[in-house]
Structure formats: structure tokens, C-alpha cells
Subunit: 340 residues, 4 copies
Amino acid sequence: MTMKFGVIGTGALGVDHMRRIQQTLNGGEVVAVTDINPEAAKQAVANWGLDAQVFPDDRTLLAEGNVDAIVITSWGPAHKASVLAGIEAGKYVFCEKPLATTAEDCLSIVEAEMKHGKRLVQVGFMRRYDSGYIKLKEAIENKWIGEPLMIRAAHRNPEVGDSYLTNMAITDTLIHEIDVLHWLVNDDYKAVQVVYPKKTKYASGHLQDPQIITLKTASGIIITAEVFVNCQYGYDIQCEVIGEEGIVALPEVQSVTFRKDAKLGVNLLMDWKQRFIEAYDVELQDFIDSIQKTGEPGGPTSWDGYIAAVTADACVKAQASGEWEPVTLKEKPEFYRTNR
Amino acid sequence: MTMKFGVIGTGALGVDHMRRIQQTLNGGEVVAVTDINPEAAKQAVANWGLDAQVFPDDRTLLAEGNVDAIVITSWGPAHKASVLAGIEAGKYVFCEKPLATTAEDCLSIVEAEMKHGKRLVQVGFMRRYDSGYIKLKEAIENKWIGEPLMIRAAHRNPEVGDSYLTNMAITDTLIHEIDVLHWLVNDDYKAVQVVYPKKTKYASGHLQDPQIITLKTASGIIITAEVFVNCQYGYDIQCEVIGEEGIVALPEVQSVTFRKDAKLGVNLLMDWKQRFIEAYDVELQDFIDSIQKTGEPGGPTSWDGYIAAVTADACVKAQASGEWEPVTLKEKPEFYRTNR
Amino acid sequence: MTMKFGVIGTGALGVDHMRRIQQTLNGGEVVAVTDINPEAAKQAVANWGLDAQVFPDDRTLLAEGNVDAIVITSWGPAHKASVLAGIEAGKYVFCEKPLATTAEDCLSIVEAEMKHGKRLVQVGFMRRYDSGYIKLKEAIENKWIGEPLMIRAAHRNPEVGDSYLTNMAITDTLIHEIDVLHWLVNDDYKAVQVVYPKKTKYASGHLQDPQIITLKTASGIIITAEVFVNCQYGYDIQCEVIGEEGIVALPEVQSVTFRKDAKLGVNLLMDWKQRFIEAYDVELQDFIDSIQKTGEPGGPTSWDGYIAAVTADACVKAQASGEWEPVTLKEKPEFYRTNR
Amino acid sequence: MTMKFGVIGTGALGVDHMRRIQQTLNGGEVVAVTDINPEAAKQAVANWGLDAQVFPDDRTLLAEGNVDAIVITSWGPAHKASVLAGIEAGKYVFCEKPLATTAEDCLSIVEAEMKHGKRLVQVGFMRRYDSGYIKLKEAIENKWIGEPLMIRAAHRNPEVGDSYLTNMAITDTLIHEIDVLHWLVNDDYKAVQVVYPKKTKYASGHLQDPQIITLKTASGIIITAEVFVNCQYGYDIQCEVIGEEGIVALPEVQSVTFRKDAKLGVNLLMDWKQRFIEAYDVELQDFIDSIQKTGEPGGPTSWDGYIAAVTADACVKAQASGEWEPVTLKEKPEFYRTNR
């Protein structure tokens, strides 16, 4: 039974998901499309030879598109309205991050979903589907290193454009660590601090780069996360979990080992798009499979979207204050407690 | 347009391919099944809830099954007849190794296929679809290490059962290196030698283990390949290509890096089935995609099956003689010359 | 011209230095010895077959021992008096850490040395002589990674005894990082913070373990240093310097690479005494050689001892306050400015 | 009690040993020197400010030099005469490789030494003193990998000059593997084979490079040793021992780990002189220490020099024949059987 998808937003990421559903995954097809620019939507349908209808907007697509699920790849500020419309229509929703641009808006989605009575929404935090993070989580859950006590993470990009601002280190970059790390250790954040090291000469005048963000969890784990978006040398995601009896670290990206030019090593990526390319496939396939098996999506929930929003807010506040800032979450509803 | 598959042989590997086609891959479905044991075939269809017909034998399946392609996963001695029947019926054929049990039989398949006028057959040498070997081939073809001069390979299993015989080190084990290494450097074998090191105490009385096989290619590359099937420590496939300007080696299997128990390292596999699990998916997906795009399968050809058979024969002869034995291949027909 | 040494304190470390001077190094001999326990001193002389005189105390040794230099390996509270007596006598002084137990006492040594007019004192911070740290410093000074912006350090012991207290994480353990890291980047500390992660179950009731100490330098480098003295898995010293254009990390301890028991890796040390065993030799040889070449010792100075004391004080204060605590150093006298 | 050395041959290596004895090691001094070019000998003495007498030749040095031991660093063809003269004079002899240029000459040294009745001679195979090989030998002798079955070795130089000939791959390059590998597994060679892979374009017209030498030991271990002296990428010595229960490999040369320019790795050496620089120190210090403790040198013996000569002869013969060539050693005299 093939799941019929409507895609809302046919920019680069939207088109990528269309290709994914149509060509790579099993059990889905794109039957409806909309974009704020209707020509772009038509073009996308034509380019991929889809048998899909183009709608003027999300509400019409939901009303008339005969879809089982929507994929939201519009720009962030438009997410909330589309997600709520999807829930209202009783459709499954795969929403790229952010779920909404404020914690309050995330909460309104959470409430709408709970009112609907079934989980419909999955947020596009793809790292949980990366084979490396999965292996890391398995090692932790198998008690291979005892209780986790500390995490050292780094998120490094070779460079960013001038439009990248200091707070985007949190909202665009660290946001992935925020989601994946609390999932990794099955814990909640309690407080955050941001420290600014010496600034690299490669950062724009207005940008503080690198930054070190420290997060404390409810159980006391201390996470030291570095964001460094002009590191020059590569796109590099590191995560090391230090437990009572040992340490496990995220595997390096697969590469041939070379001996060449007086060096022994492996190649690193320069392009972030390659890093989680398989995770995107696995993520959306799991969305389809989990719904078909259990009636609910199995990935990051609206509540996870809310956690990310609240934690990011606290981090941005901590950037300005230089102080420890609390992360104040509402109590997790029973509705979101079952783990996959 | 979905490709309709008939599966010939519903043992472990056959059932695995049925699951793969039905659940994991895109663009295929299993519509017909046969096995020497009809109950096994029925059981397989029932277990997987397939909408597939069970036939008494391969010829009937081909005649009445309305299939586009067959997958041959019967035991080796039955392959030749099924492949020839498939070609005769003008169906695509995906045949697990060996293509046939003798070089002569492989050649008769080659001739049948050429007579048919189009490539129909792909042999299940899945390593060419392993992401590590693909990266290795890319590095070589990008001239990253200059001309390849030598290869050091190892094929190690933790242990084998008593029924594993000395010649199986060639026909069951080295056979994968035989296929993948000539593909890797785009060359042909010219001569082989086998040397027996001191025997491990973990080998059965009748089994020579380990063995070192040296292969010379037409262009002069020397390949030193170790087969060691009771190595105890893991399932470990190694391949290092030494070129004029550097060396590249197959990546290790992905694993978390650990620091534990006075050791820093990564985990190795013990179970061979995990090693190429993704390559099996990619292999069969490529079979489907390539046929749909070009009308011919894009993987290892009948000719590659013939090369493997001739080379394995020479290696088995060299086991007995202790001498260099020539690998005498017929001239490669134009029909098989186009590379994908 | 052989340098004549007097050894003050014949405990384990003192005896080790006696052996070192007598057997391993070039250009030194032990001619005088004293210990608070005279029998221990006699025993040490006898055990090593030394032609050395035993004196009742440090002052007598200095007055009558005909020594060129003293090695101070008594317990910490006795260091100050011996160092000052050595300076007063115009002898070279090799003093194990700490130089003195308070910043004020260190300062009084600094003043005495400056008054004497020539550098006489070297503090036993042996890490500066470790081949790994030296390679790291070379890489930094060659501008191989651009300006250093951040350092990630870890100091891990498998376990400590019950007598190890929370502040000893600073004064006994981190003290080595305090010395070596400012030397590594040629910078001074400005402020420190201590954060306590979840406590390991392997720590004594009174001990906070692990701890994370953050140090800011004058130029803005942020150092995140973990102290974890019950980490179970090994004695592990890590140091990674993150610069504007790349990263360099301390080499792992030399070990064979193994493939065994489903693991690929290297062995780590369990015993800290093995880690810097060569550095101790190089350190004391450099003390001898540098004095013979330049008339002054070339290693860590009294001023470095003072820096360590002030910084450790700030860290201990930060343990209690949970706040950033300033590191307030006097201006570095011209006398200590010349680098080796 | 300082050992008095006479140095025979004051070329680069001789001068290096003079510096080593005088400055780095403990318990030796250079008191006598000779060279075929007397001016070079005088210059060397003057340059190092030695209190050493220059003699016209080795015999005069031995007769009048009042030395305890000689170091022979003249050119190879002169070694035999100096070694025999040293034995005749009852002096200890440290002789750089080769002990003599033919197996027969080595045997005459062996006989002279046995006649003298005490081991006097050590051959300068310094790899046995490399900390990496020592760790490898420890792992093997601790039965950490069970019985050794195979060894994979490689000896690679970035490039060689035009005067390097095909047989020098054996006599100058492989000679080090010949010595260190039989020591590593405590075994003797029985037969050798040489195979020529495709030649690198970086080799001179007259030079076959690379070469693969296979050596069989008495117990059946197969050693595959690659010599590749124009490998371009670095000076790289590899050795991997494959045992019944696991594998151990020689550690890589210590280097910082870097992340830079899209690569993660370590630096390799380009200059062979750096590779075993510490082993030279340890080797000659052990010569001194062992003689002072036991009355005999503890390193590679005359018999080891003979083994190297016989094995190298067989390899050179195998280069020409392309066949397995036997390595025929006389029975090892009791005199040389005690292991250190």
C-alpha cells in the first residue's frame, strides 16, 4: 500500500525529498505539490516526470490532494501553519527543522497533536538515522561504557557566507547536536552556557566563531559542544561519550586509507551535503515504514521539536549574558513518553 | 514499470533475495518461485505473504511464470542449466556464483548469450557494489596513486566447519578476490602460484590453512592474497593497492572508536553475513536500474564468470603442483568489452 | 666536567633520580644525599653502590657537600626552604613540583633568584620534555594550524586511592596541564571555571570525579580540560589544539597495532609511571647540558612554578564558587622573559 | 669503568658513532681513530674536540691505541680484515653491516671468534633495538597471537640514486629485514623466491623496483617482504606478524595527529636517517652495558652476520633464477646458541 505524499515547498530540499520518495524509497509516491512560487512547483513536477498535481497552497493541497502525508520543506516561518493544517486534516506530517520558530508555536503544535489523539508529526532531525550515531547509541544502551558522564561534541564547517550570524551557530548549526545528544543519552537539558574563544580571522566581522556551548542535563551529564563554522579543513562532526568504564566515539566518515605525500590518513569531507546523505534516505523510509506498521511515525516528535526550540532559546540567551541560563521545559506528557 | 522476478532456489540466499526485492528495493516484485523441494518454495511464499506462483521447475517457471528476470540461487551444479534456459527464454538472469562449475560450462553460457545478441546475465559478485571497494576503484582511476604495481589482499574467517576442504579456499573463498581484484585494476590474470605457510592448529586435519596465493596480471601487477579461514579473531577482508606514487587501502568496517580495558580501537566483525549486507542491496538494485535504463544489466558479466572459473582452476592446479600455473583465457570478445 | 649532585629526599622519586643521574644520563654524578630519615638515605646510597656522602640535612649538605646542584625530592611543604637555601648557596636547583605550596612562597623564591642575578632553579614539569608535546609545540610554532583558538585536554587515571581529595584534582593532577598548556601556546591564564559532571560510582564518597576545568588565556584561547581519575580504562593523557586552519593532537603512546578478539586497536597504559618515563631522562639531561652550555638551566623556571601556584589557587577557588575566577599574575619580570 | 673505543673509518657513520659515544652514551669514550684518509681522521678528532690519538691503520690502532673495543665503520670490503685483527688482539668489535662481503669470510670470522673462546663481535643491525620491533617481539613471545604463521613486511624509500642496482635491493635494503625477521620469530630461513612486479616509472632504467621477496623458515613461516625504493611517498618500514590467534603490527612512527586540508592523519618520514635514530643509541649503549655486565656483547653476533650473508646470497641468486633457492646454513654452533 503506497503512501501518497504532498510536498509543501519545492526548493532544493523539497525537490531532493521528491526524488527520494519517487526513486530511492519503497512505499511512497508524490501525488501533490505546492510552492509559494507556483512556477517552481510546476517545474519540479515536470523535471522529475511526476504524475503529481500542483496546488496553489498548503490548505488546498490538504483539502483536495488526496494525500496520506505531507512533507514540509518551505521556509521556517511557514512551518507552523502547515503543520497545524496537516494535523487538522488528520494527515501525517514530515516537517523539516525547525518545527516552528518559537517554543510557544512548537507547544501549540504539541497541543494540537495531543488533541488529535495520535502522533502524526515527525521532525526532520536526520542524525538519529545516521549509522554512526545509531552505533553510538547501541554502545551506550548496551552499558558498554557504564553510565555516560560527559560528552565532547564538535560541529565544524569549512566556511560560511557573510549572511551567517552569531545566533545561527545555535539555531542552524548546534540545533542538530541539541536534538541528537539528548536522544543519545535519553536525558533532558537543564542549563546552558556559551563561551567565546579567540575569534578566527576567517570569520566575518559580525560573526563570533568559534563558540563553545556547555549543556547540563537533568542527570548531570556535561556536554561540551564546539561550533566552528570557518574551520577551513573540512566538514567534521565529532561526538565522544565518556562513561564510567570507557569511552565511545562517533566513527569517522568512510574513506580509503592512504599513504601518500609523506602522510598516512583518511580523507575528510568538505561538503556537508555528503555527510548525512544516507541518513536522509533512512529517515524518510522509516517514516513510511513506521506508519505502515504502527500507525504512527517513529522518529523525532513534536515534543522533540519543542525541546530543540526551548534549548536553542536558552543558548541564544546565554550567548548574550555569558551566564548559565536555565532550560525550562514543561513536564513531558505521557503522550510522548513511549520510546520507539 | 516494475520488474517481475522468478526465484529459482528458495534456500537461505534465495529467501534473502525475495525479501530484498519485495521490501527493500525499488522497482521489482517476486511473482514466481521454484525449488527442488516444492514445499520449501510454498513455505517461502507463505512466509513473506507474496503474491507469487510456485512452479515445479525452472523451465516451467520460465514458460508460464510471466517473469522479466530470474534469480538463480539453487546449488552450484544446477546453475548452468537454469542460466541457459533463461537465456533461451530471453529473460534477464541474476545468477549467484558460480556461474557454472567448470570453465567450459561458463564458456557455453557466454556463447549462448552472444548468440542471443544482448547481455542478459549478471553474476552475483557483490563486492563490486561494496562502498569501500568502490572508493578504492575511484582512487585508482583518478590516478591518485599512479599506476598500480602490487596488491596485498587478505580474506580471513574466524573459523570454518569440518566440511571445508583445501580447494574451497580457492573456489569458495578466494573466488571473491579473483573477481573483484581484476575489476579493481581493469586487468587480466596471467599466472598463479600457491604457497602453504605453517598450518594453524585450529584447522581440521585435512585442511591446509592458511594459504598464500600470488597472481600475476597481464600488465605485471603482482597480487599477494592470503586466505586464512580459521584466523579466530574476526571476519576480515583487507585490500591494499600499492601504486607508483602512493598506497590506498580498503576502509575498515564502520564501528565506534572505543577506549576501554586498556585498549583504544574499533570493533571487527565476527559474522561474514554482516560484511557485505549493503552491497547485496546495491547489487540487485543496480541490476534492476541498469536494465531499465540501458536494457542490459551493468554488473559482472558471464565473461567475468568465465574468468573466475578459469582462474580458480589454475589456482587449484597450483595448490597441487606448487608451481606457477598459467591462466589461459580466450580473447575477450568485443561483446563484453564495453565497460559500464 | 661532571656535575656533582646532592639529592634532598630519598623517597621513590629521589631514588629514581639518583639512578637516572648515575646510570642513564651523561655528565652527572651523585656525591651527597640527605633525607629526613637518615637510614633511608644511607640505604639508598648503599643500594646503588654510590660513592656519596650522607648529610643530616639540606643546609649541611649545601655547606659541606661540595655539590654543583641539588635535586629536591622531599615532600612539598619542605621544598621552599631547600630551594631558598640552594639559591643562597649559589647552587643549581632541580625541584620537583610544587616549587612551593603557596603562590607567595613561590614569589619569594622568584625574588631570591632575581636577587642572585642568574637563573638557578628548574621545576620538574617533565611534560615539556615529552616527545609528543614537543612535536605538538613544533606544529603550532611552525604555524601549521594557524593561530590556536581552543584546546581540549584530558587527564585520566584508571583509579586513585581513598586519600585523594577533590582539590587534588587541581593540585596533583591538573597541575601538569596548567604548566604544559601555557607553555604550549606561549600564553598566560586569565580566568578559570570548574564544572562538576555527574559523579562516577567508582569515586570515593568525598571525591568529585570527574571534573571539567575551563581556562581562558590572555589572548582568548579557551582550554577545556577534563580530570577523571577513576576512569577505569587506562592512564590516558590527551591534548588537542584547534587552530584557525587545522587541528593537531598529542600522539598516542607507542604500541603494536593488533587484530585480536574481534578488535583492531592499540594498547593503552594502565600505569602512569610508564607514560613520561623518557621525559624524566630528557628533562634531567637537559638540566645538565643547558647549565654546561649556557650557565643556566633551560627548563621550567621559578616563574613557571609561580604561575602554576597562582593558577591552581584560582582553580581550587573556582571549585568552591562555581564561578569564573580570575587568575591574577604579577607582571612577568624581564629576568624570566627570554625563552630557551 | 669507562670503555675505551677506537674508531676505524671516520666517514659519516663513523663520526656519528664518535659523537654518540662521546656525548650521548654512558660509559664510553673515543681514544683512538683511524681512516684510510688520515686527514679525515684528524679533522674528525678536531671537530669533536676529542682527546683521541690518530693512527695510520687498524693494526697500529689495535697494537698501540690502548683500546677496549673497536667500532668498524670503514667500507664493507675492509670489514673482514679489521674484525679479524680485532679478534686476534682480543678486543671487542662493533662492526657495521656487512660483517664481511661473502658468506665464506663471515664464516672465517665465526671460526676465529670461536677459537678465541668468547664472543667479542656485535654486528650493527640496529633494528633489534628499535622500540617498535622490541614491542612486536614481546607480543610474539608472550604468545599473544599464538604461533606466528606469516609475516608481511615492506621496506620503502622515497627514492634512490642512479648508482643503486637491482641486487642492492637485497644487499643494502632487505638485509635489515633478513636480520630482524629471523630474530623476531627465532627461526632460520630455508628457501627464498624473488618476484618482480610491474616496474615503477620512477626507477632507473637498470633497476628492477619494486621487488617481492618470499622467505620460508625452517618451521614453515612464510614471509612476504616488499622492497620498493622509489615509492615516492615516504620512508616506510612495515611489519605485520599473522599468528594463529591474532595479528600484531609494527607501530607507526610517532607523529601528531592532524586534521587539515580535508585530511585526518599522521605524518610519515621522508628521511630514513630519522627512523632508527634512537635505535642507534640504544644499540651501542647495550654493547657497552652488556660487555660490562656479562663480559660479552649482547646484540647480533658473528653468526647473525653469517646468516645475513648466506640468505642475501640466496636472494640474489633467486633474483636471477626466478626459482625458489635454498638457504643452506651450517649447523649453528653451541657457542652461538645462548640467547640473551
